[in-house]
Amino acid sequence: MNRKYYGQLIFELSRKGRRGSYVKREDLPGMPADALSAIPSQLLRKEPLGLPEVDEPTVVRHYTNMSTNNFGVDTGFYPLGSCTMKYNPKINEEVASMPGFRNIHPLQDDFSVQGCLRAYYTLQKLLCEIGGMAEFTLNPYAGAHGELTGLMVIRAYHDSRNDKKRNVVIVPDSAHGTNPASAAVAGLKVVEVKSLPDGTVDVDALAALLDDTVAAVMMTNPNTVGLFEHNIPRIAKMVHDAGALLYYDGANLNPMLGVARPGDMGFDVMHINLHKTFSTPHGGGGPGAGPVGVRAGLEEFLPNPRVIKSDDMLFCEFETVNETTSLGRVSSWLGNFCVELRALAYILTLGREGLMMAGKLATLNANYVKESLRDLYKLPIDRVCKHEFVFDGLVDKSTGVTTLDVAKRLLDHGYHAPTIYFPLLFHESLMIEPTETESRETLDGFIAVMRDIAREAVENPETVRNAPHDTPVRRPDDTAAALKPVVTYQQMIADDEK
């Protein structure tokens, strides 16, 4: 434990002549000493490499010190809404680091990688059962990448029917920003549909937007306010009657585990965030994985390569089977394989019993926190929520304490902050998602602190406004960072010299 902010860059620890690793050099009979010098010099690097020169103990201490200024799920409660920060089981890490997986070159022949292909195939089938879909690809690398792939599936489907004028995607105004951004990358135009005051999609407004230019409607269910879109059967029928497909953004799948399946709700294409619902670690922003599922009839549009079973042997097929229909290729190989292994380990560990309970416990935890704080934090939509819910700041805003201040004050108490200022439907959004792996005592501790902060905001608002006080660093100057961006050490040095 070292609470002091370390603050040095590895470059600042560099001393000429130090090394943190060596490679064995062998005398190769009949070869000149330096093969690089035989390469024409105009093809070789001349600029010096701006890398640090440090010994191994320095590297280890540097990064270990830095890690102590970081907060993870293992450090403490992480109620970051929309991110499903559940516990990351340790057996998953062991599985992903088994030499029989990590030392496998992706281009080895199929016969020498049957175990890898079987893991991929098994997870595909399990996700089909959980999603209510006919087929899955595990190739997309992240949720956003899955969305993009899913929209490409939808475009490939319309193209196959020569239905070329469908170039519009409808997304709710409460959607994650990723939805419209993915649509734009996939070459589609975005039209927003309004939400009703109760937070769900305005079905009449949607009906008015549906015509023969609509390729897809993207929805999150439960939506970003944590509410189940109970009109979904009607919406699905309307979308299908208009000739469009219905896309399920799986960001909020967790509370649906053991309750209902997107396929049964009428969704045609979906993605799943393995790093949310299936417990793989977030790694400070990645790697994740974003498998995409499709209902029967859309399988042929999925990306290559794909894993196919034949006589109990598994094969990795690339472009031969479905060259004309497949959307093409979105990844170098079969996705983030070692992330897929972790998700598979999680599903096998939970098994049928665990999977049937996960969603319900996540929902219970969220409602428990909501009901315990609603007298002090403004609850704009008063309904039973699912895995998460949104407060619109404090009930008593008289002292001007904002959601940002509350979030920062939580850091002082050893909690990660909830998601703030999203969704955009409310000015002071504070979005809380506890997940099912938190105990009642943990939630009670959080509730008590949230109540203390609400009281402090009235009695001693300056303390909240200037928070955090007890973290390795204080609030950074974001404006200065954006006005004059300093994004490398080299630039920092050059600026200092000026």
Binding site: Y421, D478, T479, A481, A482, L483
Partner: protein, 120 residues
């Protein structure tokens, strides 16, 4: 003579030349401006279409041109000092345009109309 859009741009017209910027109301909503994305001299702008954006730390607003024309100058002071917009949005225009269709001015709001609609 100033004309205004619903999307908070103004064009200050002098003869055949228009100075386009964002309104006081807009800069106030955005907060500290950290970057202005501007077109290049010689580019064409079209009324109702975006020609750039104004960014603050946690928001961004597209710039929608009030008029059509050719860009004859961009305000280079904004490259190093985008905060000029916060200091005086009405004086620190973003681009200078030679109008190709002055009749478009008829579709815009007068100062009185804009001020009534968007009171700070």
């Amino acid at each position: 003579m100033y004309y205004f859009t619903e999307t908070h741009e103004y064009v200050n017209v002098e003869g055949n030349v228009g100075y386009i910027g964002i309104t006081e109301y807009a800069q106030n909503e955005l907060g500290n401006v950290v970057y202005v994305d501007m077109p290049e001299t010689g580019d064409d702008v079209i009324a109702g279409e975006d020609f750039g954006a104004v960014e603050s730390v946690k928001a961004a607003s597209d710039l929608i041109s009030p008029v059509s024309g050719a860009v004859i100058e961009v305000n280079e002071h904004l490259i190093d000092n985008p905060r000029l917009i916060n200091e005086d949005a009405m004086k620190n225009w973003i681009i200078k345009v030679e109008l190709t269709n002055p009749e478009e001015l008829g579709d815009l709001m007068s100062k009185e109309e804009y001020d009534t609609k968007f009171k700070i």
